[in-house]
């Protein structure tokens, strides 16, 4: 069911997506899919030489979880803009939870604008990625 602008309230938690634990296999697949072959994400030795315990996830993989969560809540066509900051290192085994909350609602002409804050945290509630997005709901005329 598509959310209805009129029923949305500032403060509502509107997104809650629990992802399965990230695997090394997934990082290899994401490298191939995205074209980001930085060995930091696929080769433990390289990651260790850079001061990590082992491979770390692509930040953009986690951002992909955020946009998956958003376009599960609203149809993709309503998503106008999303901006995120990469805050923490994500590793294989981490289970990411994406949540979002409505910060602001306003009407602009024949559209309802909804601004939300969104974040991805791991199983220890450490923030990995956070940001904001804006959705545009067409209003019945």
């Amino acid at each position: 069911m598509q959310p209805v602008f009129e029923t949305l309230r500032v403060g509502d938690e509107v997104v809650n997506l629990l992802k399965p634990a990230i695997t090394k296999d997934q990082l290899v697949r994401y490298a191939g899919a995205s074209g980001d072959f930085n060995p930091l994400h696929t080769d433990d030795e390289t990651a260790k030489a850079s001061g990590f315990h082992g491979v770390i996830a692509h930040g953009m993989l986690v951002m992909g979880f955020l946009t998956q969560a958003v376009t599960t809540w609203i149809p993709k066509r309503l998503l106008r803009q999303i901006r995120v900051r990469f805050r923490g290192i994500t590793r294989p085994g981490d289970r990411i939870v994406v949540t979002a909350r409505i910060d602001e609602k306003r009407i602009e002409g024949s559209s309802g604008i909804v601004k939300c804050s969104i974040e991805a945290v791991d199983q220890n509630k450490d923030v990995k990625v956070s940001g904001t997005f804006e959705a545009v709901f067409p209003l019945p005329s």
Binding site: A33, T72, Q81
Partner: protein, 142 residues
């Protein structure tokens, strides 16, 4: 280097969309089932929201920019990412993109000097419609 532009063209293939959604574990049917996408009013399946970055990377444009800016990959971290959406990206689209170095800001912190480089890429499709604008902020540890 500010204002330097990199042009590239990218053909949107169904297979690259499938690879991206599979690696993310995003099973939204509008990205892989044409009938489901049509039911939402699209002419075909569409690309997921972070797809344009696949073009930035696979086209080699980002690495070319890093090379021109003399930024070694091993010292770069991705700090921020933003997308602004104008119309959907569909399989078979030919995207014309321009990446521009928008700003380079040096900041001195406790752990040393860092350069913040803002790269903006604007994609236009074969119908001359702007489809997406993405901004990538990367940090080079000096």
């Amino acid at each position: 280097m500010i204002g330097t532009r990199f042009n590239f063209t990218w053909q949107v293939e169904r297979g690259k969309i499938a690879e991206l959604t599979a690696s993310l574990g995003d099973d939204n049917p509008i990205y892989h089932d044409r009938e489901a996408a049509e039911a939402e009013g699209y002419p075909d399946i569409l690309a997921p929201p972070t797809f344009s970055t696949v073009a930035v990377l696979w086209s080699g444009t980002l690495f070319k920019a890093f090379h021109e800016l003399k930024m070694p990959l091993s010292r770069i971290m991705h700090a921020e990412q933003e997308y602004e959406y104008f119309c959907p990206i569909l399989p078979g689209d030919t995207l014309h993109a321009v990446m521009e170095v928008k700003s380079i800001v040096e900041r001195k912190g406790k752990s040393g000097t860092m350069d913040f480089v803002l790269l903006e890429t604007i994609f236009t499709n074969q119908h001359n419609r702007q489809v997406i604008k993405e901004q990538m902020l990367v940090v080079e540890r000096k």
